[in-house]
């Protein structure tokens, strides 16, 4: 379910699953001492003959004698205990930081963790039985399976340690951060052993990071965002062939905003939540600059998890447009938007836009109505169907199911566009007196202010770069303004546009185009409305926005 509640439920389930899986059977007596001995031997090999494949091969043979990696249980036990031992050793290495404040965390030494990471790399790359360097690629499926098992064990070990220590403020995320970062860096460099399966290596890390999402382990959140956005991970995920990694990155970004959502909506950000949000903005700016298509293709589902009060954040997603496109300057005098070639092209949307409609069993009756304009009862009853006591932490956020409103608007719009194409082959046809417009107008006139606000927001969320959705929904918004049955509704349409324009940049191209048309085109006689002069500061805001628009 694309709603925040849905995502939160998923996160809670994931947390519970992970914690249940972290419960491991009792280890045999002496297991920890044995693993400690093996680790000490490895550290000697690593320090005294680094790079010696002979020494490595001998050590891997020794591990195989202990059932690693052949025997799943021995491997899980070895990795789990070795991780605990190395993390403990790293945390004990903490030294005070010169001149730091009392509660500083001190400086950790990572030589043990780094050596251990190299051992895990070696294990994953070369320890698959009967695979000599010459058959190296033959072992790839087993390697990936081993990599997944190692990463899963690391994750469970982290969660188990987390649960024991976070309440006493004792959980130190840094050794785990270092361990995952080492693995990320070493397993994502071009390499004949794993390179052929690089997307699957990335997927393995994406799965781990999804399992450790902030809603599951908030005490690991800052490391988590740094790993997700790391230059050896996020770009590789988004540059993987055929965009195989996009869905994984999308899921991780949704995980982040599902966690931040309650804090952003309440606009009461703790220092930590504010810093995490600031970090999220930096990551989004990198995505907007380097991978705008990723943000724009998933804009719909991102708008679902961003509180409607986060206007600049939402604008950031909606401002993304394909790098191949050159946007005409919205302030060009007499810009003929409807002559732009791009506006007849549909935008690429990778989110599933109908999932909320289907979850509420509204899609079929809606399609039926859009096709036949029957039964009229469907339309009359629609405002009530959009209500849904969407609560979180037992105070009601809104009485509307916002994802459902978003889904309805986009689906009706897409149907309208295809109907227009069927009739005349282009969008120039008047959009008035069409069934889709009936739906929009009926909702405009029968929803209360709050419901109408979410409806207008859902429409304004489609005002992006030049494409046929932007064009259609821009016409819809202006038509609803012109045909509004009361000045109050016109004021609300204006308010929805204005609140998106007065925030800091970026501003979506389609939003600017629509507002300029509204204030310039005499058909809307915008300046004659009382609300444009209702107070001096409002008048000033309008004039400043108008000036920047002109």
């Amino acid at each position: 379910v694309q709603s925040n509640v849905g995502h939160t439920v998923n996160a809670t389930c994931a947390a519970r699953e992970l914690r249940l899986a972290s419960i491991v059977p009792e280890d045999p007596a002496g297991a920890r001492e044995q693993v400690t001995g093996l680790l000490e031997q490895w550290i000697r090999v690593w320090n005294e003959s680094p790079g010696s494949e002979k020494a490595y091969a001998q050590y891997l043979t020794l591990l195989q004698q202990h059932g690693v990696p052949r025997n799943e249980q021995s491997t899980e036990r070895f990795v789990r205990l070795a991780t605990v031992i190395c993390v403990e050793s790293c945390v004990e290495s903490r030294t005070a930081e010169e001149g730091a404040s009392a509660d500083s965390l001190g400086v950790l030494t990572y030589s043990v963790v780094d050596a251990y990471a190299k051992l895990l790399i070696l294990l994953v790359k070369y320890a698959i039985p009967d695979s000599s360097p010459s058959t190296v690629l033959a072992g790839t499926p087993q390697r990936l399976d081993l990599l997944n098992r190692v990463l899963l064990t690391l994750t469970r070990t982290l969660v188990s340690n987390y649960d024991k220590t976070v309440e006493m403020d004792n959980f130190d995320q840094r050794p785990y951060f270092r361990l995952f970062l080492n693995l990320l860096q070493d397993l994502n460099v071009p390499d004949p052993v794993l390179d052929s399966s690089n997307p699957r290596v990335l997927a393995a890390f994406a799965t781990v990071l999804h399992a450790l999402q902030p809603a599951v382990t908030p005490g690991f959140a800052f490391s988590w965002l740094e790993l997700v956005s790391h230059r050896m991970f996020m770009p590789n995920l988004l540059l993987a062939k055929n965009q195989k990694g996009w869905a994984l990155m999308h899921r991780l970004l949704v995980d982040l905003f599902v966690f931040l959502e309650p804090y952003l909506r309440q606009v009461q950000l703790s220092d930590a939540a504010r810093l995490l949000y600031k970090g999220a903005l930096r990551v989004l700016l990198v995505l907007l600059h380097d991978f705008p298509e990723f943000l724009s293709d998933y804009h719909f589902s991102f708008c679902d998890v961003i509180p409607s009060s986060c206007i600049q954040l939402r604008n950031l997603f909606l401002s993304a447009f394909p790098r191949s496109m050159r946007l005409p300057d919205p302030f060009t005098p007499n810009l003929k938007v409807d002559l732009l070639p791009e506006i007849s092209q549909p935008p690429r949307i990778l989110s599933n836009c109908v999932i909320a409609l289907e979850a509420c069993a509204l899609r079929e009756p809606l399609d039926e109505y859009l096709l036949t304009r029957h039964p009229i009862s469907f339309l009359l009853d629609l405002p009530r169907k959009l209500l849904d006591a969407n609560t979180n932490n037992d105070h009601v956020i809104t009485s509307y199911n916002v994802p459902l409103v978003n889904s309805l608007v986009v689906h009706v719009g897409m149907t309208a566009i295809s109907q227009l194409h069927t009739k005349s082959g282009n969008l120039q046809q008047p959009i008035a007196h069409s069934t889709p417009m009936d739906v929009f107008q009926h909702l405009m006139n029968n929803l209360d202010s709050e419901g109408r606000y979410f409806l207008l927001n859902a429409i304004a969320n489609q005002l992006r770069y030049p494409n046929n959705h932007t064009h259609y929904f821009s016409c819809v918004l202006l038509y609803l303004f012109a045909e509004a049955t009361s000045e109050y509704i016109q004021e609300q349409v204006t308010r929805v546009l204005l609140e998106r324009l007065i925030v800091h940049r970026p501003h979506p191209w389609g939003l600017l185009i629509t507002f300029i048309e509204l204030i310039k085109n005499p058909r809307y006689s915008f300046w004659s409305h009382g609300f444009t002069h209702c107070a001096t500061e409002i008048e000033r805001v309008f004039e400043s926005v108008a000036r920047s628009c002109m």
Binding site: G279, N315, P506
Partner: protein
């Protein structure tokens, strides 16, 4: 009103990709172009 995103330490007008010098979500400035390199294990003596 949001914040001025040009003050977050990223060169948004850069013609180059930002990700290769993206230090971290907490860094106020990009890293100096730390080279991405990897040394095969056999180079370690």
């Amino acid at each position: 009103l949001g914040s001025d995103l040009t003050t977050l330490g990223l060169n948004l007008n850069s013609s180059e990709c930002l990700y290769s010098t993206f230090a971290s979500p907490w860094a106020e400035a990009p890293i100096t172009r730390e080279p991405q390199f990897s040394l095969p294990l056999c180079y370690y003596m």
